[in-house]
């Protein structure tokens, strides 16, 4: 802003008594933004994790072969593998080796999982060239002919409850952000009304001197936007610091799912937009409240 214009704006701003402001709003907005950024981060990270999970599981299936006779099971596995590799619907078919299965069972069975006498199903990991129930049906039909004990599970299907849960978390986070934004607007409305009451005398004088509603509303709008800006900066920075701390701790856990629940550049950009959006929301709510209230005055 140029010198004289800035000076004029500053002097106009002083028409409202700074000492009589509702400074509590700064801290309320800070808390709101802190919670909103955390809520939004939870939603964005969960959505990213859900997307990563989906992209990993779509088009993947597992074939289980469980025969009463281990020799027959092994023979069926060989035939199944050959049949699958010959299908255009199958991009890749790999036998999961015994050691890998023992490692998967270890958390439940301990070292007994590696016992060669333990009857363990033979597993084939499939990567399908095309998605959908029709593909799975063709795979099942092909396997039925060569390996009657084979059972085909789409990985997508058994991870569906997890995906549904992640979708629910995203929805809850979204609702949380909307509720916090609504609560913030309500706080601004209350602060603007309190400001009107506190400055009623000054506003009356301004009206009598020819001030328009927009001029009066602009005074409050600027002031509330400034307070909201300070609060938003404090709240957002605190939330981002907390997110960085949580990210660092999650990285140490080495969990694959937590690793996928990262924000990514677009997520961080979205979080950075939140304080700006809240300041705009506060300014608009203040302007709307003040102009509506002034309409009832001559």
């Amino acid at each position: 802003m140029s010198g004289p214009v800035a000076q004029n704006a500053e002097r106009t701003r002083r028409v409202l008594d700074e000492a009589r402001g509702v400074r509590a709003m700064v801290w309320i907005i800070a808390i709101m933004l802190f919670l909103t950024v955390l809520g939004a981060a939870l939603g964005l990270a969960t959505r990213n994790a859900a997307n990563a999970l989906e992209s990993e599981l779509v088009g993947r299936a597992t074939v289980q072969l469980v025969a009463s006779d281990p020799t027959r099971q092994e023979a069926e596995a060989g035939k199944a593998l050959s049949a699958l590799r010959g299908m255009p619907d199958v991009r890749r078919a790999e036998l999961v080796d015994r050691e890998e299965l023992a490692a998967l069972l270890r958390p439940w069975l301990g070292d007994d999982g590696a016992d060669p006498d333990l009857p363990v199903p033979t597993m084939i990991d499939l990567e399908l060239a095309t998605e959908g129930p029709a593909t799975l049906s063709r795979v099942r039909a092909a396997l039925n002919r060569v390996a009657p004990s084979a059972r085909v599970d789409a990985q997508e299907a058994w991870m569906a409850p997890v995906a549904d849960f992640l979708d629910l978390v995203v929805l809850i986070a979204f609702v949380l952000v909307v509720l916090l934004a609504t609560a913030t607007a309500a706080v601004v409305v209350l602060a603007a009304r309190a400001g009107l009451d506190a400055h009623r005398h000054t506003i009356e004088v301004m009206h009598m001197l020819g001030s328009t509603d927009v001029q009066v509303a602009r005074l409050f709008q600027r002031r509330i936007a400034r307070d909201a800006g300070v609060g938003a900066a404090i709240g957002s920075l605190a939330a981002i610091a907390m997110l960085l701390l949580v990210s660092a701790q999650a990285a140490e856990l080495g969990s694959q799912l937590l690793g996928q629940a990262s924000l990514g550049p677009s997520g961080w950009a979205t979080l950075a937009m939140l304080p700006i959006a809240f300041v705009l929301l506060a300014a608009l709510a203040a302007r709307f409240t003040i102009t509506r209230a002034l309409e009832s005055v001559l």
Partner: protein, 235 residues
């Protein structure tokens, strides 16, 4: 030239109470100077409130600057208020602003650039004898000084009409003379002036000023000159 103010059978009632003003009819010619008198409770302040658009009448017609002020949309009122300077009986200074900032308020509201505000404000404060109190807050000023700040604020934008409610009530006779001279100077420049006062001596000091007398909410106009005022000769 058309009258600047025209009241026809105006009545004012607050809530469900009796009429505070009844059947008020008068016209103010541009550049005229009027004293509004009457006992306390006669309705002087209510009449002034109608004049400076702080109140709409309960009935009757008010034309201000040639336009119907009764049905005028709310959004147009600020533009008309900027053409009227008001000295309130209770001063109504903004308490946290300095005397200079109070005086500058009408100019800032009108959007005058800051660089053009300082000179007229200083000049006006000097006019009312408060050049050395420019930075003083109203609470540190005496009643008379606050009144002079209020007067300076009312006249700084060179309004077409000045409405003053007991403007010399809190100042000594010498300052009252000085303020009256200021009003008279403005009037000679074309501003229509309406001053509500009890001060008979004050009324005698302005040559050519006319009198409006309110008795129990009714305007006394036995000769009809208030309804049909003679146009004032330009100074």
């Amino acid at each position: 030239m058309a009258n600047i103010v025209q009241f026809e059978n105006v009545g004012l009632r607050y809530g469900n109470g009796p009429e505070t003003l009844s059947d008020i009819s008068f016209a103010l010619a541009p550049g005229s100077f009027y004293f509004l008198t009457g006992a306390s409770g006669a309705g002087k302040t209510s009449l002034l409130r109608l004049l400076y658009l702080s109140q709409r009448p309960s009935r009757g017609i008010i034309r201000l600057f040639g336009e119907d002020a009764v049905t005028m949309p709310r959004g147009r009122l600020p533009g008309f208020r900027r053409r009227i300077g008001v000295v309130f009986q209770d001063f109504r200074l903004v308490p946290h602003l300095s005397a200079a900032d109070n005086v500058a308020l009408p100019l800032r509201i009108a959007g005058m650039p800051e660089a053009e505000i300082a000179d007229p404000v200083s000049e006006m404060l000097a006019w009312v004898g408060l050049a050395d109190q420019a930075d003083a807050k109203p609470e540190t000023l005496s009643g008379g000084e606050q009144q002079r700040v209020a007067i300076a604020r009312a006249v700084i934008a060179r309004p077409e009409m000045l409405v003053a409610d007991e403007p010399t009530g809190n100042v000594d006779p010498e300052m009252a003379d000085r303020l009256l001279l200021l009003f008279d100077s403005l009037n000679r420049l074309g501003t229509t002036v309406v001053v509500a006062t009890h001060d008979i001596q004050l009324m005698q000091r302005v040559s050519g000023a006319q009198m409006m007398r309110l008795v129990k909410g009714r305007l006394q106009d036995p000769t009809g000159t208030l309804r049909h005022p003679p146009a004032r000769e330009p100074a």
